[in-house]
């Protein structure tokens, strides 16, 4: 899985490309947690290029959101596909995240 990282202002935008499944999910978790720590939580996950997730992928998203929630924040997802939203809803994880249509909308949430 290719995980693109881009700095937009003071926010780090991570854009994984490909399915969020077992091994790749752990790599994404590491990248997300590193960005969370170094950026004090100013992180956006651009999920527009994630076609589907497996159970480990869901766990990783939940774990990172838990980590952020300890400091009063939530994982900001933008551009999530219909499939991803549906999976999150089925798994009852949807309320754990903040959703934005695109990266710019997510960036504005930090203002």
């Amino acid at each position: 899985m290719d995980i693109g990282s881009e700095k937009k202002g003071a926010v780090t935008v991570l854009k994984p490309k490909g399915p969020l499944v077992h091994g790749d999910a752990d790599a994404l978790k590491q990248s997300l947690l590193e960005a969370v720590v170094s950026n004090l939580g100013r992180v956006v996950l651009d999920a527009s290029a994630i076609p589907y997730v497996d159970s480990r992928g869901l766990e990783v998203l939940e774990e990172v959101s838990d980590e952020l929630s300890q400091s009063g924040q939530a994982l900001k997802l933008c551009g999530s596909t219909e499939t991803l939203r549906e999976v999150l809803n089925i798994a009852d994880l949807a309320p754990m995240f903040e959703y934005y249509e695109d990266v710019n909308s997510a960036l504005r949430s930090f203002l």
Partner: protein
């Protein structure tokens, strides 16, 4: 820490040596004594056998009154078996035969005698000799006694010197072996001795570990003991902390709901009490100071926060020196960029100083946005000022010399061009605002591409001429009609062409080429301008971004054009890509889906 001596070890060694010596002595004595008893027993057996044989012979010889052979037998056996006494005695004490012939009675053997009834066989041993008495039944005459006494050769320690030397040698070897073992185990014994003394010093759970430690020079056992003490103390400390936290938790359970509420806040909250120690910190505060939340509780604030200004403000607020709130903004440079934190410090109570509250807010993104906005306003002001200056200049010329037809034509033309430029600028800004708000809508209709390109050519010919740029439009013989939002599509093309002219030096070349492909149309805008570095190419389509090229610093621009053009084309389902090399120029390729109808 104890550096105990070897008292225990020395005592242990002396005791062992003493035990070995005593054991050697006892063993020697026992061996000598056993040999003596063995000799007595052996001598007794020998005397007993001699007595048995002699008594039979003596009875027979006495019956036949044949005393000479008897006396000879007595003498021979006495010599042969080294008997001290060997004699035949009648009940009245008359010695019939004896190893010493001088003691023999010369009288012949009586025909009979009495008084020998009740004589029994007996044996005795002791004091270095054995004695055996055997009754003799002389038929027809009476009873007699055979008495034999024999010395037993004693044995002394000197006689057993070989045995004792052997024992001594074995003991010495054992001692040497023990010394060697002792030398090898000495350090361990020292460590064990020191640990034993430490254990004797133990006074219960409050004994400090430092007091029980032994010198690590005693070896790995001592080091392991010290490590064990360290670990034990750590566990004890952890246990105490857990107890304190449990008590704290139970005390705070009543306010658990409030704690949870504070943890949902993205603002850091730190309550500081007397001695500037943290009484409470929410999750966000721990994240901002990058510390463990539990570790923060009860610890001095300066252990986690190094900003002197903030610490001074906290001290001032907590001691009641100042009752006003203090706002401190701190910028931190990190590997991932910079972070701006705003600290608000204020006393908790106005009348009873002692506690202060620190509120931490991450305002980095606001700062970035402010900076970008300021830069944008400056750029827009500059962009507006240039056409407005031209319009005002030519408008004033018209007012002064309105009759000059040449001037009037030129002034009107300039005013027209600059007005369009202003209109495009305003239109760009409005479009950006629409995109930002997500409210941009496309009003698609049939668009004659030929008209679009003719309009572009007309708009930019004069600008190209002013810089002596060769501006060319290459269109196919049959220019299609596409389905698009005309104004917005034109806006995208305007931005590409105006950028190409703007960033191409005098005497350069700009070409606009339309290609009609089966499923799309492609517009290539190529220039021989300054080119864009690879680093800038990554960000050139970002809003408000302007290339970091010093040669372009004097060229005005808002950093909106390319971003806007790509957003518009993407709304149409197409895209804009870039191919550029610094110093050689750039080519922007706009592609738009289009279905070519069969002729």
């Amino acid at each position: 820490m104890f550096t105990r001596e070897e008292s225990f070890v020395a005592s242990f060694g002396i005791v062992v040596v003493a035990i070995v010596v005593v054991l050697m002595g006892v063993t020697s004595w026992w061996i000598v004594r056993s040999q003596q008893e063995l000799m007595v027993s052996s001598r007794l057996d020998q005397v007993r056998q001699v007595a048995g044989l002699m008594s039979q012979s003596a009875e027979a010889l006495m019956i036949s009154d044949n005393l000479s052979p008897l006396r000879r037998l007595i003498v021979e056996n006495s010599q042969k078996y080294e008997l001290q006494v060997c004699r035949v005695v009648l009940p009245d004490g008359t010695i019939v035969a004896d190893a010493d012939p001088s003691r023999i009675a010369t009288t012949p053997l009586p025909a009979n005698w009495s008084g020998g009834e009740g004589i029994t066989a007996s044996e005795d041993h002791g004091a270095g000799r054995v004695a055996v008495r055997r009754p003799l039944a002389v038929a027809g005459r009476g009873e007699a006694v055979l008495e034999i006494v024999a010395d037993v050769n004693g044995i002394s320690f000197w006689d057993a010197w070989e045995t004792l030397a052997g024992i001594g040698a074995i003991g010495s070897l054992a001692m040497v072996a023990m010394l060697l073992i002792y030398r090898r185990t000495r350090s361990r014994l020292r460590a064990l001795g020191a640990i034993r003394e430490a254990l004797l010093m133990y006074k219960g759970e409050h004994t400090p570990a430092e007091f029980l430690k032994v010198s690590p020079d005693f070896g790995i056992e001592a080091q392991a003991w010290n490590e064990f003490l360290n670990e034990t103390e750590k566990l004890r400390d952890q246990h105490k902390r857990d107890e304190v936290n449990d008590r704290l938790d139970s005390r705070q359970r009543g306010t658990r709901g409030l704690d949870d509420a504070c943890d949902t806040m993205p603002y850091g909250l730190i309550l500081v009490g007397k001695e500037i120690r943290v009484q409470y910190a929410n999750g966000a505060a721990a994240a901002f100071v990058q510390a463990d939340r539990q570790a923060m509780m009860g610890s001095p604030l300066d252990q986690f926060m190094t900003q002197t200004e903030v610490l001074d403000a906290v001290k001032t607020a907590a001691t009641g020196t100042s009752r006003r709130r203090a706002v401190i903004v701190d910028e931190i440079e990190t590997d991932s960029g910079y972070t701006v934190l705003r600290y608000i410090v204020r006393p908790v109570r106005r009348t009873d100083p002692g506690d202060a509250m620190v509120i931490i807010e991450d305002i980095t993104q606001q700062r970035v946005a402010e900076k970008t906005r300021n830069e944008f306003v400056a750029q827009v002001a500059h962009e507006l000022r240039t056409p407005l200056s031209n319009i005002r200049l030519y408008a004033e010329s018209l007012l002064e010399d309105g009759d000059d037809t040449t001037l009037r034509a030129k002034a009107i033309n300039v005013i027209n061009i600059e007005t369009k430029r202003l209109a495009r600028l305003v239109s760009d800004m409005l479009s950006v605002a629409e995109i930002e708000a997500g409210s941009m809508k496309l009003s698609a209709d049939d668009v004659q591409l030929g008209d679009i390109f003719h309009e572009l050519q007309a708009d930019y010919e004069q600008q190209a001429d002013e810089k002596n740029i060769d501006l060319s439009f290459n269109l196919p013989p049959k220019v299609p009609v596409i389905h698009a939002d005309r104004d917005k599509f034109l806006m995208a093309l305007h931005n590409l062409v105006s950028n190409a002219l703007k960033y191409t030096a005098n005497d350069g070349r700009v070409s606009v080429e339309l290609q009609v492909q089966p499923n799309q149309i492609v517009v290539e805008v190529a220039d021989t301008g300054y080119g864009i570095s690879e680093e800038d190419q990554q960000k050139i389509f970002e809003r408000f971004y302007r290339a970091r090229d010093e040669r372009l610093a004097s060229i005005p621009g808002t950093g909106l054009g390319l971003s806007l053009a790509r957003e518009i084309v993407r709304l149409h389902g197409g895209d804009i890509t870039l191919d550029s090399q610094v110093g050689q120029g750039s080519t922007f390729t706009l592609s738009l889906p289009h279905h070519v109808e069969a002729a």
